[in-house]
């Protein structure tokens, strides 16, 4: 049974159907990629899973139970933590305080351990927003890990990072999965990282799921090639 299952979910914004009858699943312990061109609806899927948005129709279940009756602030208690495409930090808080906020509702490993793990322990008492962008993303990751999640949602973790940092990231995500016994759903709009780290991939285009399979399978799928060639972002 899938740890996360999204079934026939639709969400509109005005005239735009941001997510159109999308179904996808993530199995326990998997690293699954969610890819697609800009505006395909990937972040919206995250916002639906984390209950920031309400779906117009469809069902989302986690560990066999519906998520749709869980309030937005209850999602982390159920074992789902996330990062944001454009980092969402607490402007007045130090790095350590971010991790303490991560432990607000549900406690994972000790704050110090996590800071060391993601490599920001040296900056524990600095304001997070004063750090370079790459480290800010690490702080967000540390905050998410601090809640001891079962499912980790990463929204474009490679965005804004330099080449070297992106190379490291793939390894880090796999290590995280093993060391923290996580399941990972990874949004990326560039193929490279996903193809290296993910075991399975779902592809969205204009709000619809157009393909699913192993990275090799989807890379050769004509519909996927079309979607990526059909936009300037491919």
């Amino acid at each position: 049974m899938a740890l996360l299952s999204v079934e026939g979910v639709t969400r509109r914004f005005g005239g735009i159907v941001a997510v159109d009858d999308v179904s996808l699943d993530v199995g326990e312990g998997e690293i699954v990629g969610l890819i697609g061109p800009n505006g395909a609806g990937k972040t919206t899927v995250f916002n639906l899973i984390t209950r920031l948005y309400r779906p117009e129709s469809g069902e989302i279940a986690f560990a066999g139970e519906s998520l749709l009756r869980t309030p937005p602030h209850g999602v982390v208690r159920r074992g789902i933590a996330r990062t944001f495409q454009n980092v969402e930090l607490f402007g007045s808080m130090t790095v350590l305080e971010h991790v303490l906020m991560g432990r607000h509702a549900r406690r994972g490993r000790r704050a110090r351990k996590i800071l060391g793990y993601v490599g920001v322990a040296a900056h524990a008492h600095r304001l997070a927003r004063e750090l370079p962008y790459g480290l800010q993303k690490r702080v967000e990751l540390a905050r998410a890990l601090a809640s001891g999640p079962r499912l980790l949602l990463l929204d474009e973790p490679a965005g804004g990072l330099n080449h070297e940092e992106v190379e490291e990231l793939g390894g880090l995500i796999r290590r995280l999965r093993d060391d923290f016994e996580l399941t990972v759903l990874l949004v990326e709009h560039h193929m490279g990282l996903v193809m290296g780290a993910a075991e399975r991939v779902h592809v969205l285009d204009f709000g619809r799921r157009i393909a699913s399979g192993t990275p090799a399978e989807v890379q050769n799928d004509p519909a996927v090639i079309e979607a990526y060639l059909g936009t300037t972002n491919g």
Binding site: P72, H73, V75, V76, F90, S92, M101
Partner: protein, 336 residues
Amino acid sequence: MRRALGIGAWLLTVAAGLGVFLVLPHLVSDFHSRDLARAGVFFIAIVGLNLLTGYTGQISLGHGALMAIGGYTTAALVVHEHWRDVWTIPLAGIAAGIVGFIIGIPALRLSGLYLALATFGFAVAIPSLLKKFSGLTGGTQGLRFLESAPLQVTGLTGKVTIFGHTMTQNHFLYYLTWSIGIVGFALAWLIVRGRLGRVFRSVRDSEIAAVSSGVNLAATKTLAFALSGVYAGVAGALLAIQDEIVNPLTYTFLLSILVLVGAVVGGLGSLPGLVLGALFVQYLPKISTHVSGRSGVRDFVYGAAIIVVMILLPTGAGGFLRRVARPLTTWLYTRP
């Protein structure tokens, strides 16, 4: 070593502060200690407003109305129920805390300037509400302690004896107000340094990140409103006890604005400067009257002084504007 020095300096500051608190009324005229007691009322209200506006980022221009709830609770209990004035203070705090909580519920849908305007509406409406329910509130006349329940007024004879120590009524009011103010300040300090303070700031800094960390926005915001209301209610009760009368004129929207001015001048999102904010609000009108008794000149001096302080404290004023804008922008971009 550095840590020990830090703790030493900290203790010294606290001791100096307490020393000033104890001797101050003896350094000024008896009559003047009543002004200081009045500054203490502002101090308590400002500390409470800062928990709400400074730490959770919710602007209230309605704190004068919450003070009215406290003041009228005290007055009604003294005049109608013949309670001893000082014993009404806890209930006044609770009553305003409940009203604060209730205001906090519609406030969940609003932030930034919209919230400021909604709370301002409450502040504008309260005097006419007070006039309307005249059976309870005494209408335009208000409630007069000395006429209706003189025996319930502490220090009616001009002297108060506590623990065998006799002092003037003005000194009593000073020590009563500022003792409560110091306790309230210490509690606020514990709150903002602790887990709850962090949760408050998370809501101010990023609502989405706070929710995703498991913070219940509705519960946190209404809790902040309620807590802030308790401070305002206690301040209002002390104001009523000092004046020995309540009437609608005391609780116009100007009172709400003064409390916000004090919090901004004192420094939103920090506590130590709030004493200065309270003194500013209490003494600025007197100082401007001193410059000139003519109302035009006086008001000009008053307004100009606020502007000058804002310019001289760019971080205070700047931080304020940032926080006005932030909940608003967060709101605009996170609505489903």
